[in-house]
Symmetry: C2
Subunit: 192 residues, 2 copies
């Protein structure tokens, strides 16, 4: 493992990502049973997110091994929906449990930005579900706030695979206008 | 024109949009010469945004006729890039002129949220360029903040048409998870 402050070059699209191991955090978005397990909400949409769940688990193990910080989010809601704006109640009401969130973005109206600033985090590795909704919105928020984001391609999934493909392409377009993408294997090789 | 507070039903996808004429603002994003005119940055990307520019002009005329508020954003930067974070300086540095913005989202670190709150705005009609970058990021920010968004399909454009198509589809997926989309003609017929 390199000395603190050294950058690690990770093979990525659209060009190599310079990971800063002393200032990098993993962000695991909405990897919860209702989304990824049989008989959950996810299964009703006809797609299987389990392969991504396996990769997310391996990604978490990698960060634990390195003793790099990991941030988890979870989508849920109060039983009486009292925390849910009326316009959203008709759709899918959501708030984050530990890192409470109004809707799809990780940062807006949460303490996440403060937590990351206090930890000196400048580089984020997003993963989780779904790619084009909460993962995309949160990655766009992070990019606007100056974080360098490396989305792990096989550690994120959508109920609609073409949305996942389009989102990955949009993120890395125009020379990483939102961030970089790479498979877990490339990250593991670079930091291993 | 209906009395203040009455809703106007606009034919839209994935289902009709309930426009509140007393609390609706048009948001025109980045319709600037460098992006849409010959010899500008946009032309170097090989696509012509002019048809969308014509529709945006008609949309602005509609809102002016109704005396409904219009918010414009413009992307630019200081000549010395002193306002630009280092990570972004290597790519395309940007900040908003009147409604200054760090990067792609309309709301983060700007006064836009306060302006809209003071005006009592609850419904936004986004338009402009480019669909999958600043328009998408800003619409996702608006949705997280509780605004009901109706993106005008032919008043937005991308240098990559398949990104525009995917973004419109993502926005209205899952029962308008981010918002609604409709052509200008449908809006004009509903409010005319």
């Amino acid at each position: 493992m390199p000395a603190t402050g050294d950058r690690i070059e990770v093979a990525a699209s659209p060009f190599p990502y310079a990971l800063d191991p002393a200032h990098t955090a993993l962000v695991v978005i909405d990897m919860q049973r209702d989304f990824v397990e049989p008989r959950g909400f996810g299964e009703t949409l006809g797609n299987d997110l389990a392969p991504a769940a396996t990769t997310v688990a391996a990604l978490i193990a990698l960060f634990r091994e390195k003793h790099w910080p990991i941030l988890h989010t979870r989508e849920s809601h109060k039983a009486d929906l009292s925390d849910c704006p009326p316009a959203k109640r008709l759709r899918a009401c959501a708030w984050r449990d530990r890192h409470r969130q109004v809707w799809q973005g990780l940062f807006y109206a949460t303490e996440v930005g403060d937590i990351l600033t206090k930890r000196g985090i400048t580089h984020l590795v997003p993963a989780g579900v779904t790619t084009e909704v909460c993962v995309q919105t949160s990655t766009r928020e992070a990019n606007d706030r100056g974080y360098e984001c490396l989305l792990i391609e096989d550690a994120t999934a959508s109920y609609f695979p073409h949305f996942k493909a389009a989102t990955l392409e949009m993120i890395r377009a125009h020379g990483a206008i939102v961030g970089w993408t790479t498979p877990l294997d490339a990250l593991s090789k670079a930091v291993g």
